[in-house]
Symmetry: C2
Subunit: 154 residues, 2 copies
Amino acid sequence: MRARDLAEPFPVVTLGTDAIDAARLLAGQRLPGLIVCADNGRPTTVLPGSQVLRFLIPQYVQDDLALARVYDEQGSDDLLGKLFDSKVSDVLPRKQDLDEIPIVDQDATTMEVAAVMARMHSPIVAVTDGETLLGAITVSRLLEQLLPSAPAQP
Amino acid sequence: MRARDLAEPFPVVTLGTDAIDAARLLAGQRLPGLIVCADNGRPTTVLPGSQVLRFLIPQYVQDDLALARVYDEQGSDDLLGKLFDSKVSDVLPRKQDLDEIPIVDQDATTMEVAAVMARMHSPIVAVTDGETLLGAITVSRLLEQLLPSAPAQP
């Protein structure tokens, strides 16, 4: 089985999408992450949900977890509940190594898909045919596909 | 709002659970990850779904992603579909830094919960009262709670 056989439709956002709309898409549909596409439809970034949270967390708190602990309850809620007038392009991680974005070719094997997810700590991979997004594979989808055929334990 | 207010019931596995049952629990309930508890009920590890995939991937493939690409289609499916007679304790990561396990105290603020998820690339955090597991918070749950109250964009 190849990646193309496992890929399912997945909503995408673009670099110009409002960051708050991207976060709401993730929350509302309980997506495991976001796929960000360029204007030509080519996926450029795949962000696990945990990394989408960075949209909402000040940089200095991301740099030093201890600073998160000094916020009082109300201050914490206020800060997190407030999303500025940002686009997705404004809140993406600055530096991205292309080798570390969970995108696989449609010909990738299940082993490669699993290894990419594990290596990149990503609950989803985007599946492409050249520059075109075919869909996405989630960890649940991959496991569901693999496990039913597992031999019974002796 | 504190972690205790956001925590929801979450299924757990123990170190003695069959690894395949743990993987099936994740897939069947589409959980974002697994919470592993010691015999006394204390959570000891929280594994994102992407890391549960390591149960199924040979170590040498995890060490070198390029090796995943040389598997042919059938070989890849066979290998991944086969889970040995392992317990969860057999397949957990060897070294674990306690500071890098996404477990928070019930008094943690939403900011701390978000920062822990982002820092540790985890779609869930376990919430504890001392050594007792109260439940878990997912990225979706946290965002759902935070975003509806976000002020309208100007």
